[in-house]
Symmetry: C2
């Protein structure tokens, strides 16, 4: 597959690669610094990356595409861990243990990348629910829930549990409200436990 594509298409230019990475790094940095995602404009990113605006849109399509790419880069290791890693995140984990682990991982990611996650969720075009990113978490969580005997409504439950980790809620609790990350994690864990019954 990959080799096919590589063989068919001409190799990616080295300057293109350099620019793409500069843009991703600049965007990551800017989002991390600014208070609100809206405070980061595409011009800002272009300027910080030392690149023209056109380049930015050529590579990433639109603002949402750029944000997605940045998130993608950040979340890659976690995705790997969930898809083929060891317990408690990997697919071999018993479901009653994996569900809390997955949600805790999501929450930790959002705590560690607050502004970025916020940016992704409020990225204009379409709801967060249509993104590949969300769909993947939802599908994974749902499948795991389905493996718990006697558990119904796994689809809705997965949505409801993920909703408890929404970026703006996390930001509200950990930012505005001043809760520590640990406290939020503990509260989420307790909540998940309730939902799983026991």
């Amino acid at each position: 597959m990959t080799s096919n594509e590589a063989a068919r298409a001409r190799k990616e230019r080295v300057d293109a690669v350099r620019n793409r990475e500069a843009v991703l790094a600049a965007a990551d940095d800017l989002f991390a610094r600014s208070d609100s995602p809206r405070g980061v404009s595409m011009d800002d990113v272009a300027a910080a990356a030392g690149v023209g605006k056109g380049t930015l849109f050529r590579r990433f399509g639109d603002r949402t595409g750029l944000i997605r790419a940045v998130v993608e880069a950040r979340i890659e290791p976690l995705r790997q861990a969930v898809e083929e890693g060891p317990a408690p995140l990997g697919p071999g984990t018993p479901p009653r243990e994996r569900v809390p682990a997955l949600l805790d991982a999501v929450l930790e990611f959002k705590l560690a990348n607050r502004h970025l996650s916020l940016a992704l969720e409020e990225a204009g075009s379409g709801s967060p629910y249509r993104t590949e990113y969300y769909q993947w978490w939802h599908a994974t969580l749902r499948q795991t829930l389905d493996r718990i005997p006697g558990h119904a409504d796994s689809g809705f439950t997965a949505h409801a549990l993920l909703a408890a980790t929404r970026a703006d809620l996390v930001e509200h609790l950990a930012g505005t409200e001043g809760m520590t990350g640990e406290r939020v994690r503990a509260d989420l864990a307790a909540h998940v436990a309730k939902v799983l019954g026991g």
Copy 2:
């Protein structure tokens, strides 16, 4: 109070009242019709209400203020029912019965006013969590949860439960995904039951 103010300040002008109502009606209508809240601009509202743009901003401050006012008008009866109505919404209801009723009411409202709720939640300035609207639901729900013996984390639980009724989630389920309103309500009810334990 009210009479004092009325006595001190000049009476509100009749044209002002008429315009305010025209704007609210026009906005309500436009949001209900349009597919996405972003499809409704302030100019659109002004034009539909037969009013100048300046008037609009003078009355409502900004776009968010306008949306809030429209929602406020729509939700008034529900608020009344929760604050001083009979069971199952009113304050006299036993908490184990009231919590599901409150959440179902929230969900029903969002189902009946999908676009409007969506508009409110994605209204730019600040997170939804800082609005008086959300704070009130959260406080009410939290207090009710606190009356259930042995229930901890009422603050987080209230957030988590309300998160399961987020407008964009509702829109995704009932709109994109094609679920009926009744189905969503049933799923939410089941979820709430799990959280309350039983």
